[in-house]
């Protein structure tokens, strides 16, 4: 588990965030801090607005109310939003890889967009991160030619090549079989420990969250119902939280049992 850094101010402060689609309130008064260097996992059932929350924070979705502060400044200001985008990365649930670009070009684009350094330096960085993600030999392939696990690793490589200080992971292991999931997850954990970036992780997987997180947020019916350290989450006897934890674990066990009968190669 990543220790919770206490001496630094929060990198993100989410205040009274609200978001509705048509008449349905997906986020209702969401309030929490993300300490610098911490790994914050957002847990919750499907449809509780976890991905919507990430997209509202990063500015992909307009909010109906509330605000987000990045290093103390409001993300409503375009220059602050640009600053956040320059120093953060986002791993999409469905990867969002550029399908008409090769693996190499996918990872090169974020460096080219930031424009710092020379083409040679970028290429060195791309090769390094591809080697780290065991994708070196696939650098000339297109995303459609990769397996699900490789696509996920490519998405992570693209997110980490710029050495961001904050990374948003939207269900980085969703849709992967246990073998692939463990491989991708352990790579992400290792890289987080090495580089020390702040991470916000949206996941269904309680075990995954407990292993990696310094703080856990449990989102239910558009509100933060639990916000605390992983150990407190695990120990909590609050009936609804316990029910969620136990249901998810039971479902996970069943899925793993059925998947392990025919697990494909990584």
């Amino acid at each position: 588990m990543t220790p919770l850094p206490s001496d630094k101010p929060p990198i993100l402060e989410v205040r009274h965030l609200r978001k509705s689609f048509a008449e349905r309130a997906v986020l209702a008064d969401v309030d929490f801090d993300v300490p610098t260097g911490a790994v914050v996992s957002i847990l919750g059932r499907s449809g509780t607005g976890k991905s919507v929350l990430l997209k509202c924070i990063i500015g992909l979705l307009e909010t109906d109310g509330g605000h987000v502060l990045y290093k103390g400044e409001s993300l409503k200001l375009p220059e602050v939003r640009s600053q956040l985008r320059q120093s953060s990365s986002y791993v999409f649930q469905q990867n969002a890889l550029f399908d008409s670009a090769t693996v190499f070009e996918n990872v090169l684009l974020p460096l080219r967009a930031r424009g710092k350094g020379t083409r040679k330096e970028w290429e060195v960085k791309v090769r390094k991160v591809l080697a780290r993600m065991e994708l070196e030999e696939s650098s000339g392939l297109y995303p459609a030619e990769l397996s699900g696990g490789m696509q996920k690793r490519l998405a992570v490589a693209r997110a980490l090549v710029t050495e961001p200080e904050l990374v948003f992971f939207d269900e980085p292991t969703a849709g992967l079989d246990p073998l692939r999931r463990n491989a991708v997850f352990s790579m992400v954990c290792e890289l987080q420990r090495e580089r020390g970036f702040t991470a916000i992780l949206v996941t269904h997987d309680v075990q995954e969250a407990l292993v990696v997180s310094s703080r856990i947020l449990w989102l239910d019916a558009g509100r933060v119902r639990f916000n605390g350290e992983a150990a407190s989450f695990e120990a909590s006897q609050e009936p609804e939280l316990r029910e969620f934890r136990d249901n998810i674990e039971a479902l996970r066990a069943t899925l793993e049992k059925s998947r392990s009968r025919h697990s494909p190669t990584l």
């Binding site: 990063i58 992909l60 999409f92 469905q94 969002a96 890889l97």
Partner: protein, 258 residues
């Protein structure tokens, strides 16, 4: 109630027009976003231009052949067969060339552009570009819009040249027209202002077509449909609106320049 609905619809259309204008402006203004502009321009010229050459050659050849036949038939009735070159060249240069070439390119490259951007929207690739702090309009549509200012006039010129040759083939080879009179009429008929009008129309049609198709694909998620259906709707809207815009702009430019 009826007035309210009409008002609502009018406001929606105005909103869409405003968004489209903003989209086009941002695309051109941030054309360099994401770097590698040269490579993106070269790719756009290939996709919009080179790939459309076969369809342009085929359509222009048959347009010229038909014009030659019809011209021969109609002009002979009035004893004016010597005007065939004038009829074919001016029809193609001032009107048919820019319009038909633009419609053909819109049908081939415009639909491809709308579908490509629509898929990029539905697979969150556009969101990913935005999060890299790259202006997605400039990165995805800017180079295509800029290249259309060169590609459409170039392909229209090709259309006119092949069409005039087609007119010669049907009028002077298949029909008993005098080839010397035909080429002399072509030579004297086309003035520099006709060429200017032809190229101006082609450039305007190019900009309109690429901006409309790119806009439809880029905002495919606002079409009221989702996923593959949204891409289909965006593609259809792209080609329909481009065709209408080409004909409306054709009338306006002709009326202004006459």
């Amino acid at each position: 109630m009826f007035a309210e609905r009409v008002g609502h619809l009018a406001l929606q259309q105005l909103d869409a027009a405003g968004r489209w204008a903003l989209f086009g402006t941002r695309a051109i203004r941030h054309v360099g976003a994401g770097g590698a502009l040269g490579a993106r321009l070269a790719r756009a010229i290939f996709e919009l231009g080179v790939r459309c050459v076969p369809v342009i050659v085929i359509v222009s050849a048959f347009a010229g052949l038909v014009l030659g036949l019809q011209g021969h038939y109609v002009l002979s009735r009035f004893g004016a067969s010597g005007m065939l070159g004038t009829l074919v060249s001016l029809s193609l240069c001032r009107e048919l060339g820019p319009v038909l070439a633009a419609l053909m390119i819109a049908g081939q490259a415009g639909t491809a552009l709308a579908a490509e951007l629509g898929i990029q929207r539905s697979t969150e690739q556009i969101d990913a570009i935005e999060l890299l702090d790259i202006c997605p309009e400039g990165f995805l549509a800017g180079a295509r819009m800029l290249s259309s200012l060169f590609v459409f006039p170039a392909l229209t010129s090709l259309f006119v040249i092949v069409g005039i040759a087609g007119g010669w083939l049907s009028g002077c080879v298949l029909m008993p027209q005098d080839p010397d009179a035909y080429w002399a009429a072509v030579h004297f008929a086309i003035k520099s202002r006709d060429v200017f009008e032809c190229l101006l129309k082609a450039g305007v049609f190019g900009l309109l077509t690429t901006a409309l198709c790119a806009y439809q694909g880029f905002y495919a998620h606002r079409s009221g449909e989702v996923g593959a259906r949204a891409v289909g709707v965006a593609t259809v809207r792209g080609i329909v609106l481009s065709s209408i815009a080409i004909l409306v702009a054709d009338y306006l430019i002709t009326a202004l320049l006459l």
